[in-house]
Point group: C2
Chain length 289, copies 2
């Protein structure tokens, strides 16, 4: 991360941007409903998320070196979390987006073009490794494809049907924001990165991220909220974000919204994942604060 | 950090422990007078400290590989912070302790013995690189030796007098806690690590760190506070920490103490640096949370 030349990103810089994206997203406050620097979740505390981001660095570095499969890297991250004694779902959604972005950043072309090519190049082995990682993670079912995770024949079926990881994501794009990002070349992440490049210089890094998160939440219902509480509730949360943005002091209203969502255990986690992906894109294209 | 075997620490694990020590120390709250997860400093914000910890990872990794000089690594860390546009003093005191600990962790013997040997092996070149890093950092003069930093002849004098970095630290041990840690084989850091191993399982990671910090502050006046406000004031701050620990709810009293110190711009930063070193020692010897 020392060299800011145009000769492409080193694995260290790629890993640094990915890790910093996780830490900045984690810390931005008040980020309604999610763990942030002033809130612990009862089961997963702030320190657990810090450890999870630390353990992700060597995985991102390997992604930035190139040559390792997406599924293999996802499995490596989850395994390192579990071996440390962390829950496997601390940053599961984020690494699903950040690992392909890190691989793409090591290539010479534009990030937008390269990430499409990385996603299109995913293999059947990536799909198998992803399933293994998912089973190990304990993440919510909403975050994956439609093949049953409790069904040990899923792996055979993936092989028999010759499904790549991108194929699986396309099966889930109707009900899962992360799967949709995979299916459409991460279009919302790139769009939000553009907004962060405008918001952060105006409002500072913390408030810029909170405002970007609110805009993304206002735009589309969060699929983790929908999976836990239904589409209607997810729509209401997006409406709350919209009215916060229309208010005189969106940050203040976000604080009140945060308390309300926390009381109801509603966390718009998929929108936070997209925020981290957008931060990576913005940082790697020069955003400073 | 995946492998927990006894075959010695890999550079990745060493870097992970050092970085996590920085992030946990940074985040522990309320840590009276210092930036923490719920407080920004007006000039250096929480996000700047996160970026600083991210940029330190590759430096710690190089330390864990072995072969690089302490001074060279210190200079590398400060340079990477400055190139990113960060203030150079975000974590200056912490890396002065964490880099020798990281180098020592890559060696086969006990950490306590190896770190003494690393410090004793510091060279004249380390002293020169340290001076260059210091000049680049903008850190307070209290944190170094007695040779003038504004005097360009200091470098010549170091060479002429054949002073190693440990020699310089010994010159400052009377008035600087970090220099004293260097001079005595980091004895307070090891002692505090022992307390953290007792406090964290009882109180959780956040509160365990806050209590350990208060104990260290109660035990000895902070030298950064003394440099800015005099010994008398530093002694008063230690007395406040003692009475917090003697109260019914030390964490609650720490919150009030925090607000008072922040109002007076008093930050016991050297005690925070020793807390980070103690966290590294505890994590690398198996502390989990």
């Amino acid at each position: 991360m020392i060299d800011d030349s145009d000769e492409g990103l080193t694995p260290e810089r790629i890993a640094g941007y990915a890790q910093l994206a996780m830490l900045l997203e984690l810390s931005a406050s008040p980020k309604p409903g999610n763990v942030d620097r002033c809130h612990d979740h009862p089961d997963i505390r702030f320190g657990h998320f810090l450890a999870s981001a630390v353990l992700a660095y060597p995985v991102f570095r390997r992604a930035g070196i190139g040559g390792a499969g997406i599924g293999e890297l996802i499995l490596e991250a989850i395994t390192s979390w579990r071996c440390w004694g962390l829950p496997g779902n601390t940053h599961f959604g984020e690494i699903l987006l950040l690992i392909p972005l890190a691989i793409a950043s090591s290539r010479p072309g534009s990030l937008e073009k390269e990430v499409r090519s990385v996603l299109a190049g995913s293999t059947v082995q990536d799909a198998i490794d992803f399933y293994r990682a998912f089973a190990l993670s304990g993440a919510r079912v909403s975050q994956v494809g439609e093949l049953s995770l409790n069904d040990s024949s899923s792996e055979d079926r993936i092989i028999r049907e010759n499904r790549t990881l991108l194929d699986l994501m396309k099966l889930s794009q109707g009900h899962d924001l992360i799967a949709r990002e995979w299916s459409n070349g991460m279009s919302r992440s790139f769009k939000l990165a553009g907004r962060l490049r405008e918001l952060v210089p105006l409002h500072g890094i913390n408030d810029g991220i909170v405002l970007g998160f609110l805009e993304a939440l206002a735009e589309e219902p969060d699929s983790l909220v929908a999976a836990k509480f239904g589409q209607l509730r997810a729509g209401e949360v997006s409406a709350m974000a919209r009215s916060a943005l229309e208010g005189d002091d969106p940050l203040d209203i976000a604080g009140a919204m945060d308390r309300r969502l926390l009381a109801d255990d509603i966390n718009p986690g998929s929108t936070a994942d997209i925020t981290a992906a957008a931060l990576f894109i913005a940082l790697s294209s020069g955003l400073r604060f």
